[in-house]
């Protein structure tokens, strides 16, 4: 049974310092995680896949996303290198090679904004550590549509710029540390 009746998907955006944060977050997810989880991590176009590393710490199936891949409960999809990852009706993944945003492709804003177009309020967004302001606009769109937003406490983030930018523009429903984020996601008891 879905312990999160109000949420259809969880979105997570991370940049500088994000590999470490995502490893902690992935390790905290239980095998019966009830919704799809979509991850964007900034990285160079030629960086290769991070999926095998993250998957090795995660109880859930985790892989780079394919274009038009359907979203499934309990599956973790990672934005592939050199593509933006968006959500289209279906719901499924829609990839894009449009220009980088904030010098990043993948960028976080396209995921948060497109998912908000599809799911409206039925989203949980999480902005983690990072050195630029990507994700702030998407976080604001998600919150304005009535979705739940958590922003990693900038004081506890490896690089505070990105969570601080999201807090400044969008505010947040919670601003926990990464361990607490993992704990809350693992238990699903936050509403």
């Amino acid at each position: 049974m879905n312990r999160w009746p109000d949420v259809d998907a969880v979105l997570v955006g991370a940049s500088a310092g994000g590999v470490d944060a995502l490893l902690k977050l992935c390790a905290a997810l239980p095998a019966d995680f009830p919704v799809p989880l979509l991850l964007v991590l900034h990285r160079p176009a030629s960086g290769g896949s991070l999926a095998p590393l993250l998957a090795s710490r995660c109880a859930l199936p985790l892989s780079d996303a394919w274009d038009k891949q359907p979203l499934r409960a309990g599956e973790v999809l990672l934005a592939p290198a050199d593509y933006h990852m968006l959500v289209a009706p279906g719901p499924c993944i829609a990839l894009s090679r449009d220009a980088p945003l904030n010098w990043s492709r993948p960028a976080i804003d396209p995921l948060f904004e497109s998912a908000t177009d599809v799911f409206g309020a039925r989203l949980l967004g999480v902005i983690l550590t990072g050195a630029n302001t990507d994700g702030a606009l998407g976080a604001r769109a998600l919150r304005q549509a009535g979705g739940e937003l958590w922003v990693q406490n900038p004081k506890q983030a490896i690089v505070p710029t990105m969570p601080q930018a999201a807090l400044d523009l969008a505010g947040a429903d919670l601003a926990p540390g990464i361990e607490e984020i993992g704990h809350l996601l693992g238990n699903g008891k936050w509403r």
């Binding site: 896949s49 780079d64 996303a65 394919w66 274009d67 038009k68 891949q69 359907p70 592939p80 050199d82 593509y83 968006l86 959500v87 289209a88 009706p89 279906g90 499924c92 829609a94 990839l95 894009s96 090679r97 449009d98 220009a99 396209p110 904004e113 497109s114 177009d117 599809v118 409206g120 769109a141 304005q144 549509a145």
Partner: protein
Amino acid sequence: MNSEDSQLFDLEIKALLEAILLHYQQDFRLYSPASLRRRLRQALAQSGFERLSQLQDHVLRDGEHFTRLLQFLTVQVSEMFRDPAYFRSLRENVLPELSTWPSIKIWVAGCSRGEEVWSMAVLLKEEGLLERSIIYATDINPEALRQAEAGVFPLDRVQRFSSNYLAAGGRGSLSDHYHAAYDGIVFDRQLKRQIVFADHSLATDAVFSEVHLVSCRNVLIYFDQTLQDRAVGLFRESLVRRGFVGLGSRESLQFGRHAGDFELCFAEPDVRIYRRV
């Protein structure tokens, strides 16, 4: 954007796409809404108008506005030999097989400004196949096609093209195939003799030739599943038996209607080359 604004924006997109179809016979209605929304928001921001319905008025009455909008809706900035592993696999795996045919036809579908078309021509020349090959380079954007046909690229992009060319297994130097002109480079006329540039829409047109390889990379990602199925159906119809389809590194045929008609070949990460079964 609050939800009412967002709904109105979607309604304006629908109206704009219907109007473009009726007036310009270009069909964007089955483009993936996720990317379409972003691109139209960008086009609107650049246009200086506040609402898409205002922009629509100008797009309908002034062809220049439509031309500009087309750049947002269709143009992909690419590089020559982009994703070198793909071109390396064409060189090492696909072309040796195609060389057994007396003549070789290749369709670069959605060629935009032609970076991939000229890469393909260079590849064929270096493998000694150019003289008996024809490359069909198609797109729906006349301005992009015109640029593709010119084969002229700015000098500041050439270094990147050259390093991709080498990573893709180039047999000499990319400069063997172009000469300097204006503020850039222009590819040799000998390559161009084997290329046919044509206006063709994967959304509305039919198959025009039998081909041995379709290269269509990072074009289908902008289509919804229905339109992808149509396009892949055209590829299937166009291909000889055992003919090849090359896609972008995270594009897949497995979610579409024609999944059973193709098999993935050459198990290399980030290279998606299928063949018709």
